[in-house]
Amino acid sequence: MRLKVWRYASPPAFYRLAGKLVPWFLALAAMLAAAGLYIGLFVAPTDFQQGESYRIIFIHVPAAWMSMFIYVVMAFWCAMGLVFNTRLSFMMALALAPTGAMFTFIALWSGALWGKPTWGTWWVWDARLTSELILLFLYIGFLSLHAAIDDARRADRAAALLALVGVINVPIIYFSVQWWSTLHQGASVSLARAPTMAATMLVGMLIMSLAAWMYAIGASLMRVRTIILERESNADWVREQEAAL
């Protein structure tokens, strides 16, 4: 079993495995999104305080969760790459960053559109919003730093260090609503107590989060396959693979 897992640390083996997995993850994402949107838009009741504006939650919360989660996974692969010097780990990190940045942008955008009708403002410089904006800059910084260094191996290591330093921002985002007084509401969902929302709202939100999760995996695997080919374009196995591109 151990041997089998490590086999996929080799780019050719992982390339083929990822190719088989991508359609499954994207299909799962589409089905979950269809179910989640149906529950979110047609089954979940109107909120007694916010009216229909709360339906932004089905976009906002999954995107915000994914923006933090993808960053942690990205930092994990960076750490693996630095410790074990495995080039595939760095490629995984590089493949995750654009999708993470996209979810961060969606979280900020939908947050602004939710803030306007509920708080009366698109944006405030409070802890939660500012730290989430820093997360977007961290993703962009990671990608820019990587792109600015010509030698791929050096770029991997430099960007990985940046990603690892930046991971401190993730708990700051998560706990910001407890640590500082902020316009942003506290967590509606926590492992420690019962959720403070209607069951159908919660189910819709969780299904949309699963959809976002599956999409993130599918999109990152698509990207990592291209990155593998770009990086290993001189290897024999890539030439054999080209017929199937």
């Binding site: 838009l41 047609f42 089954v43 979940a44 009741p45 109107t46 009216g51 229909e52 504006s53 339906r55 932004i56 976009i59 906002h60 995107a63 654009p98 999708t99 996209m102 942008f105 969606i106 955008w109 939908s110 559109l113 939710w114 306007k116 009708p117 999409y215 999109a219 698509m222 990207r223 396959r225 291209t226 080919l229 770009e230 374009s233 890539v238 030439r239 080209e242 017929a243 199937a244 591109l245």
Partner: protein
């Protein structure tokens, strides 16, 4: 939740701009990302096949 009419659904209780603005931009982001992923892969495929032609390799990958 049962919406009385399609109009009521699209009006979102007066929050149409905010709700649909969020959903539309999220959908657009995902579509653009998928398009960029496809484009990056195609560009690479073309570059690799050109290189192989230069080297006189016989197979030219199909353009998908």
């Amino acid at each position: 939740m049962s919406w009385g009419s399609p109009q009521a659904f699209f009006a979102m209780g007066g929050y149409a701009l905010y709700v649909w603005g969020s959903y539309a931009v999220a959908a657009a982001c995902i579509l653009v990302e998928l398009w960029l992923l496809r484009r990056r892969r195609r560009t690479l495929a073309r570059a690799l096949s050109r290189r192989n032609e230069d080297r006189g390799l016989d197979h030219a990958p199909r353009q998908t």
